[in-house]
């Protein structure tokens, strides 16, 4: 280990005096931690929300509803206001110049622009 690394104490030591059980004892090597812990979706499912009274706030309750304001459509490429959309690629564009650019984009970029808006076709 290089001297400056040791001096900066970059690496986390494996033993701490103030801990009752050290981390290597708790999590033996081998099993990946990803499978050990539940993700948020599973946590929410496990919480069994239906059994609680509905007017009590819980994690799912307090989420905001969809927006009631009229949605603003902006051009995917430039960010200006976009009254038009391209039926072939489904991108929104502001004027003819941007349209030309859209038609010359390779398919990969089209998908990435759509993914920004969460509108890309995901094949799973």
């Amino acid at each position: 280990m290089e001297p400056e690394v040791i001096e900066a104490e970059l690496v986390l030591p494996t033993y701490f005096s103030f801990k009752k059980t050290q981390i290597y004892e708790k999590y033996p090597k081998g099993q990946s931690s990803a499978r050990r812990f539940k993700h948020l979706k599973q946590i929410i499912q496990a919480e069994n929300i239906q059994s609680y009274p509905p007017d009590e706030p819980n994690y799912v309750n307090i989420e905001s509803p969809p927006s009631m304001h009229p949605s603003k459509r902006i051009c995917d490429i430039t960010g200006y206001e976009a009254p038009y959309h391209d039926p072939r690629t489904k991108l929104r564009y502001a004027n003819a110049g941007v349209f030309k650019v859209i038609r010359s984009l390779p398919s990969e970029y089209v998908q990435r622009y759509l993914a920004l808006r969460n509108a890309a076709v995901v094949l799973r």
């Binding site: 812990f37 307090i62 072939r88 650019v101 010359s104």
Partner: protein, 724 residues
Amino acid sequence: MPFISQIQRQTDYGLFPSTTPIVIDNGASYFRIGWAGENEPRVVFRNIVQRPRHKSTGETVTVVGDHDAALLKYFDCTRSAPRSPFDSNVVYQFEIMEYILDFGFDRLGANGSEIDHPVLITECVCNPVYSRSKMAELLFETYGVPSVAFGVDAAFSYKYNQQLGICTNDGLAISPGFTTTHVIPFVDGEPVYKGSCRTNIGGYHVTDYFKQLLSLKYPHHMTRFTWEKVEDLKMEHCYVAPDYALEAQLFQKGTKEAEDKTRCWQLPWVPPVVEEGPSEEELARRAAIKERQGQRLREMAEAKRSSRINELENELRGLAFLLKQLEQVGEEDIPSFLADTGYASKQEIESAHAKATQSLRKAKGEPKAEQVESDEKIDLSADEKFSLLSVPDNMLSAEQLKEKRRLNFLKTTTEGRQRAKQKRMEEELERERKNREDEERRLANPVLYLEELHVKYKELSEKVEQRKRLKTNGGNTNGNNLSGGVGRGERLNAAQRERMRLLTTAAFDRGKGEDTFGARDEDWQLYKLMSKDNDDDDDEHDPEEVELTRISSRLQEIDPTFIPKVESGTSQQVVEVPKFRPLTKEDFQVLLGVERFRCPEILFNPNLVGIDQAGMDEMAGVSIRRLSCDSKDVEDRLTRSILITGGSCLFPGISERLEAGIRMIRPCGSPIRVLRASDPVLDAWHGASMYASALQFPSQTFTRTDYYEKGEDWLRRYQVRYSL
């Protein structure tokens, strides 16, 4: 933004009595830990963990927080991405949380056998009980903490600011954080979670949007847009426009204001080294060297030539002598005489002699005209040789017949050569004549001539291009064009049509259910036909192309302003850097114009990134509605003191925008005041520290025994009281 982590190991851990609580602000962006009652947290670092492998030793180590890149180069960080214990704003990865707590306590100076201080830790609004219980378990079991309290960071911030006098007892706390944005109403100093509201948009999404936009706009500089760099850019340059549509119009029209607002980031770029032309002396020296070399070569060539001339002269003299001797010797003795010398007959000697004289003359470098004469002389002598041909066949013997046939062949070939030469000479004369005419015409009327040439050039180039376009047939378009491709009714030229016809007839010819193509040998001739057609196609427009190149070269000579039309392929992507011109400084500039206010806009309009939830201003309305208070009075009190806190509220212009947005949804004339927290980033910790140092704080915590005895349901309903 400067590197704000502080990870200096604190030394005064032992000075604090075990009643002093430790205050932890466990945020999705930064982890802040310190002592209750103090003004600033002691240790601050980013809430991420990496597990890279050391390059030389190969062991996997754990690195908590963000560090100087210079030190990290000793580790192989390619396979280990930074991981966070958070999923949205809820802690779920407790192994990583343990690493972080280890690091935090260690840097706070903890020693001894356990952490013997009560701990106040922040969590998100309505934290699921699973996460809460796992966190409590971690603290109690692994660290031996005596008592724990959970609180909401936005609430602490509000209480702190209330103490400072910025906001009142009743109000609204709006806190755009790293992954989520919350709106919490406060009534009588306590947060009412029933009326709270959460949207899953935060600083992380703004940075991500910014990064994607820049990468798509400047694909060549994609490697420069790292997460940290983009975050820095966001903090420095992004702002919230008071009205998105108006601002976008400014930029669309290209007004001066828009130009001022566009910021330009110049990437490091080194202009290519222009090699200075060699200086005069250098040139002179090089010329001298070349001259000397040329001289040497010429001398060598001269020497060789003179030696060859000498040789030839010798040979010539020898042959002449031989001839003279022959004349003296009689007819019968010729064969035996010549047997020594190696020549079969007198004619051979004569021809050899003639050839030798000719090569001698050539070596001496005499003009070609004489050579032509000598060629003709040889031809004449050849005619004599062909005298045998004039003699009719029946009078010759078998040998002579063979001889005659050979002579016939020779004669035809020489005649052919002569004819070809003549044609060449005629063509040359013709070309000379045409050029002279052209020149005369040009000198007579230069302008008109030039115009004619231009017109001809344009016509020809159009024709050639059209033919090329027909040939490629739209096959060069990119993947966007779903239709296209040969054979779908598009214009095929003659050769392709012929090929198609052949293919179809071959395929469907035999009929009667069985395909017997290939049974007969003649079938395979089909392919020969097809390939031949292809060749014909190419030769078709060759003469036109030749003409085109000739005219273009002529134009280039005469007209200084003429630029030959470069063959343009199918349209290229506009933002692509064309490879045919040297890169300039402008190619390495990143312009931030519309992106500056487009990215923070998603906080107010999450639809822009496809998240179908309300924006910040609308959320305030939702929250007030959810509270379902009866009197307008209470609502007015709420909107009179709206506090925005949290790291993502540092964008310039956010307060004005929020105020305008809320005014839109509230009845006309209601009082609206938007206040910013005194320190949006650290106020949560300040509030928590102040709370933990109050006297009644211990009554709000719960101990280990409480945790085990009272069960999960109690834990779920556990909330601290914020007004102590």
